[in-house]
Amino acid sequence: MLKPRRKRICRFCENQVVQIDYKDPKKLTKFTTDVGKIIPRRTSGTCARHQRQLVQAIKRSRHLALIPYVSDIPR
């Protein structure tokens, strides 16, 4: 028998986020692994629209050295 999974709700939709800000590394790191990879939608439960925004924001943030591309030492 499959265990019934808890339905995850998009955290950005919950907070009614209009646009995900690339200038907020603290929030963005919640959606990356310790190594710095972007966490997939199937894990985080983010909706398609916000995931697209999130990916854009993370990439911008990486460019500005706000969050790392890769980090061996998880902070």
């Binding site: 646009q19 200038k23 929030k27 500005l64 050295a65 790392p68």
Partner: protein
């Protein structure tokens, strides 16, 4: 005309007045080329997530301005040529964000009017509200958004 946001990183090893000069230089560059600077946000010295040109610290500046699309090209060229600039990023501010900001600003005006009334009645309480305002910007934004959501709900 369009609303743009440029974030750039100046070498933090430079003396403070040199950094100021750079900030002034770029804001004036916008004005000279028919743009209009709206806000200049100095985040200050920050540790970079990774080394850029052997540097571990950078001075972050975030600028909002109105300008023509063609201007962005020349503006970014300036950054490219400047060796004091470690990184730069120019983004278009989406129309949805502008709308949201206008709405939040309108709401804040209302609450400010309410605050001044409170101050006249109880000065001690006004102090506590001031302290709340000093909290990180992101938190206050969220709060106002929540308030906005509540307000719209009640209106409906």
């Amino acid at each position: 005309m369009r609303n743009y946001e440029t974030t750039f990183i100046v070498d933090a090893h430079l003396p403070g007045d040199e950094i100021e000069k750079a900030v002034e230089k770029y804001s004036q560059f916008v004005e000279k080329n028919g743009g209009k600077v709206i806000t200049i946000d100095r985040w200050g010295k920050r540790r970079l997530a990774y080394e850029i040109a052997k540097k571990q610290y950078g001075y972050y500046i975030c600028m909002r301005f109105d300008a023509e699309g063609e201007f962005v090209k020349t503006f970014e060229r300036e950054f490219k040529l400047d060796e004091q600039i470690l990184r730069y990023l120019t983004t278009i501010v989406p129309k949805l964000v502008l709308k949201e900001e206008a709405r939040v600003a309108a709401l804040e005006k209302d609450s400010e009017a309410a605050d001044t009334l409170d101050e006249e009645a109880e000065p001690a309480k006004a102090d506590s509200t001031l302290e709340e305002e000093k909290k990180p910007v992101t938190e206050t934004v969220e709060k106002t958004e929540e308030e906005a959501a509540e307000k719209t709900e009640t209106e409906v």
